[in-house]
Amino acid sequence: MSQTENGISKDPEGKLILKIKSGPSIDFSDLFQRGFQVVTAGERSLKDFLSTELGLLPSYIDERVQTMFLDGRAVDDPDRAVVSGGSTVSLSAAMPGLLGATLRRGSYYAAMRKEISYKARSVKAEDRNNIVTVKLFNLMAREIAPELVLKGVWLSGKDLAEFLKGRSDLFGPLVETALLNGKETPSGNLIESLSGMERVFFRIAE
């Protein structure tokens, strides 16, 4: 049930649609470094998860996603890494330098970080939930985020509020309307409402 006070929404969950004017677009890739949430069921391979939930082609996964983490551990084989509820998946392009080379999937230098390399482990049923957090870094964010925001993603309300607050000068030139839980909401009220929300389904409409 939607609750508001002086135009500020008090709901724990929300739905935000930003209608964007045509012309220059907003770069949302910075938002995705903090992570978005995917509702999932059961376990599957990381590669399958990326194909199904993010719509990534196998060739893109193989060629562009050069660095990947599952629960903070460097993944060498996304076909064998297992994603389940509660996991955190992070994707990055190829990174520079020795450390970048070391963390790269299937790296020749993988032995240098074997203590933090992904190894399959079982997760107790009671420890699972049905949310997978996905973080997109650097070029992955630039390349994947645009399509995701058109389809819609679940984000932390606080992260979204912080992102929009830092770009409040975009409201007006680029944002036509902001619909929060179906109601047109001015930017000041919007940011305050979002800050109090645990999860927000966020989408761009063009």
């Binding site: 990055s92 240098m112 970080r113 870094f137």
Partner: protein
Amino acid sequence: MEKILRIDMGAEGGPKVTEEQTGEYAGLGGRALTSAMVYKEVPPLCHPLGADNKVVIAPGLLSGSIAAMSGRLSIGCKSPLTGGIKEANSGGQAAQVLARLGYAAVVLEGKPADDTLYRIVIDREGVKISPDNSLRMLGNYDLIDKVKGEFGDKVACISIGPAGEMKMAAASIACTDVEFRPTRHAGRGGVGAVMGSKGVKLIVLDDKGMKMRAAKDPDKFKAANKSWVEGLRKHPVTGEGLPAYGTNVLTNVINEAGAYPTRNFSEGRFEGSAKISGETLAETETSRGGLATHGCHRGCVIRCSGTYVDKDGNFLTKQPEYETVWSHGGNCGIDDLDSIAMLDRLDDDFGLDTIEMGATIGVAMEAGIAKFGDAEAAINLVKEVGKGTPLGRILGNGASVTGKVFGVERVPVVKGQSMPAYDPRGIQGIGVTYATSTMGADHTAGYAIATNILGVGGSVDPLKPVGQVELSRNLQIATAAIDSTGMCLFIAFAIMDQPETFQALIDMINSFYGLELTADDVTELGKSVLKNERNFNAAAGFTSKHDRLPEYFKNEALPPHGIKFQVKDEDLDQVFNW
């Protein structure tokens, strides 16, 4: 580059200049040359600030030519920070200009009898050395402004700030960049203090009237350089990631790996990382009118640098590197980019190694001198260094000294030099390099070159989990070789992935000098450099006991993965067995 310029700053009657042929040092450049000269000519037991130490300034083998990426300068000496041999490396314009003036090296020797400060001007006419105490205690920025007024902005400068004049062990040597700002530094190991001990504040290099260095086989050289540039441009790291975000692109990734040293190496993940990431930095710069893509020297095609402007769009500092954002950021619990940029500016102005300063402030925070996360306090501490107050002098001499003075056990140093931005418990192979490198804790000493391309240590099956000791050894050899060419180390990724790009580098060297080097020869060069450095350090009193991480890395588990450093001492002792 057939000449070596020697300047005896302690000669009777005033500084004396001697020019000689390269002689026994012919064919060497960059780190190969600096380490050979320091090994042969500097008594290993000399005081680093004494007359017997030398500052050897050497461009690389291909510097001053049209070869892309060839603008790195090596500066070698006995380090006042570690007590061992040191090669510090810098970008900027100095290497290109010095090479075009025909010098394989400039060597500062001796020590003046009093505290007169000197400036040295080198151009096609020769060398002029003059006392100039009006330069005393000028920050590098004011110093370069003064030079611009007299010489214009087409020269290149090498200088020290107040930290070098005060002979602090964290003092750097600054080189001017393409915009004639003193933003590129030979940072590590206190090389600035040694230059300060020689009484040299400033070296002005003017190559007006000089031409680009010409290859012995210009057509082959041009073709090799074309292939070289194509290889760098098409690679996703050098062609896309680094130009878009700079080295700070590593923040999110290293943090995710749980190997991002946080609050003086007490944890491996920093909750404020997104606020100071490469992604956030690039957006901040471009939204304010700065640059996220910029080359530190002419001829750079990777362009990983940038310019950072303040909220009003005024230049503040060059785009801070990953190491700087970490050292002044996560390592001190600070998550504000403007504060980190200010700290970077102060380090450059006073002439300080940003890695050493950030690590030192982290130790100072652990000691309770300031609170973790207090950016204003961190800025004030660096200002104390610039002023040379008693506290500033302690801090300006690095983390090890600061830890001793304030009774801190957890000091992240090896051979007296602070660790850079990767926790060795998270990535244990880098811990092997920190422990065993001739340079002290150093992340660039064992860089990424595919050992199967170089054939170092024989053929290794890349599908087998090769030991970290073997990898560190191979990488240190390869890095030593690359450091000798004057090439920027960021070529490494493109070379590792693209054998034709590595071949292009060898072809460039061969066609430039009329040689027929193979990959094995490059390997032997790397080995010979390391051998010189190891021998110097042994004669200076270093033993295997110094090739170790501080004990607490073996005892303290690092969150979030809960790992301790596990590589055995006897394995560390195998790194240099080849």
